[in-house]
């Protein structure tokens, strides 16, 4: 494998509502900043890949509008995934393995404030059998949480503790909107909205964009391993107390000796399950940035996890793990393990 490094990372400060930027403006801001951090210009980029969703942006071909932000002229080698930017990074990593390109630019953008994200995600279900029933992702997560609790793998208190930790860590993250800290008791006193889940157990949706510059060789945190797997879209055939796609992706990405991990946690009830599936020891620091419970920008939060895990390496960690997920009940999982440049 060719050694691929994270040479630059930038994100727009995630806001609850961003009425200022359109696609091109968001993308222009983060790609210029990531290239600057990498010390590269756009002419150095050999491959560009983006992640976004027209359903989230509420307009067709929003990813084409976004190309204004990178100056795609003369025509460039470019690709797009209708997914989180973490999967765009995976495609760029594969492209760099071909051997003829040494620099790749990855970006993503999303605005949760335009529509109802849960209603949009509900449309990912099987169109013949599940989607007509209107199963929203939080209800699916509640079905999963109930099973975890019944099997003795999770308690309501642990769900609350996950929220407490995320909000505490989020206090030192200047790039997410302010969020109030809460005690476990305060959280458990809140009403149940999807029994056994409470409103604060869901990730807080935000608007934003992010970009990462990948280089073959050079400095910066190195991608030690990366893999992604997907479980069945039929919730009934899965054991929801396991997360096999995350387990296999973690094994193949080399999830051992991890100092800190940035996990994409759509619902607080899923964090402990993810840690168990990926074999993370209790000593591993989880979501020092605050994670998605503090700021989940759709199609962006996964790439941000990789960027945050890279920042942890830059500030002294030896080996970090970034995780991204999509689909109901952690259906699809991507794991990226980063280490210091040798």
């Amino acid at each position: 494998m060719r050694p691929v490094h994270i040479a630059g990372f930038a994100q727009l400060p995630h806001g609850l509502v961003d009425n200022r930027h359109d696609e091109g403006g968001m993308v222009r801001a983060v790609t210029a900043a990531a290239l600057q951090e990498a010390g590269l210009g756009r002419d150095d980029v050999g491959f560009t890949c983006s992640g976004s969703s027209d359903y989230i942006m509420g307009r067709p071909f929003s990813f084409v509008m976004a190309l204004d932000g990178i100056g795609a002229w003369p025509p460039i080698r470019e690709s797009h995934v209708e997914m989180d930017g973490a999967w765009a990074l995976y495609e760029a990593w594969v492209r760099l393995q071909h051997g003829d390109v040494d620099v790749a630019l990855v970006y993503c953008f999303g605005k949760s404030s335009l529509g109802d994200v849960e209603a949009i995600y509900a449309l990912q279900n099987d169109p013949y059998t599940i989607a007509p029933l209107g199963l929203d992702p939080m209800t699916a997560a509640a079905l999963q949480a109930r099973q975890l609790i019944a099997r003795g793998l999770l308690t309501e208190r642990e769900i609350a503790e996950t929220v407490v930790n995320a909000r505490r860590n989020g206090q030192s993250n200047a790039e997410v909107p302010a969020i109030e800290t809460r005690s476990v008791e305060q959280l458990l006193a809140q009403p149940l909205v999807r029994d056994p889940l409470r409103a604060h157990d869901a990730a807080r949706f935000t608007d934003g964009a992010a970009a990462i510059v990948l280089t073959v060789g050079g400095g910066g945190p190195r991608i030690a391993g990366i893999d992604h797997r997907i479980d069945s879209m039929n919730l009934g055939v899965r054991d929801l107390t396991l997360c096999n796609s995350a387990r296999i992706a973690a094994e193949r990405a080399g999830a051992h000796n991890i100092d800190a991990a940035e996990l994409y946690v759509p619902y607080a009830s899923q964090e402990k399950l993810l840690c168990a599936a990926m074999g993370l020891d209790p000593g591993v620091q989880i979501n020092p940035s605050g994670g998605t419970l503090v700021a989940e920008t759709p199609m962006v939060a996964g790439l941000v996890r990789i960027g945050e895990a890279a920042r942890l390496i830059r500030s002294g960690a030896k080996r970090t793990l970034a995780h991204a997920t999509a689909g109901p009940c952690l259906q699809q999982n991507l794991v990226c393990v980063l280490e210091e440049a040798p």
Partner: protein, 159 residues
């Protein structure tokens, strides 16, 4: 067994979309019957409708440029048959109008003239509706203004 060929699964998504700073500037000007583009600081091209970043230079376009409501038809097509969703009654002329001082043409309608008179190089002026809304459709159409046709050479860089 009879094959199932149809079932109902109504889906509705509602969005609250904002135009963003740059399109808001453009659409607010339309309300005052003004046309405002933006200039790229690198290649100096004037884009209308304006773009937040130059699509060829990736430079931020921050300078608004007031444009006249006169321009030149750089290409056109006469729509002669009806189709679903059509807003105007055929025949009518759909055209690229290069506003004076702009570097990219604006897609619009050429009206107030027999469609067989529409041609490349035709000089036109905007005709506005009485009460403009924040949409480019507030310009009813561009109509010939009587100036002599522009030479092809004068707009060949913009076709």
């Amino acid at each position: 067994m009879k094959p199932v060929t149809e079932f109902r699964s109504p889906t509705k998504l509602t969005y609250t979309v904002s135009a963003g700073t740059v399109a808001t500037e453009f659409l607010s000007a339309i309300l005052q019957r003004r046309i405002v583009g933006r200039r790229c600081p690198v290649c100096t091209k004037v884009y209308v409708p304006p773009r937040p970043a130059c699509p060829t230079c990736a430079a931020l376009c921050e300078e608004p440029v007031e444009l006249p409501e006169t321009g030149t038809v750089t290409t056109f097509s006469v729509v002669r048959i009806p189709f679903p969703g059509q807003l105007l009654e055929p025949p009518y002329a759909c055209a690229h109008v290069l506003l004076d001082g702009a570097d990219v043409p604006l897609l619009h309608i050429v009206g107030g003239v027999d469609v067989n008179q529409v041609r490349m190089g035709l000089r036109v002026t905007a005709v506005w509706y009485e009460e403009p809304q924040p949409t480019l459709a507030s310009i009813r159409y561009f109509t010939p203004n009587g100036e002599p046709d522009a030479d092809y050479a004068s707009f060949r860089e913009h076709v």
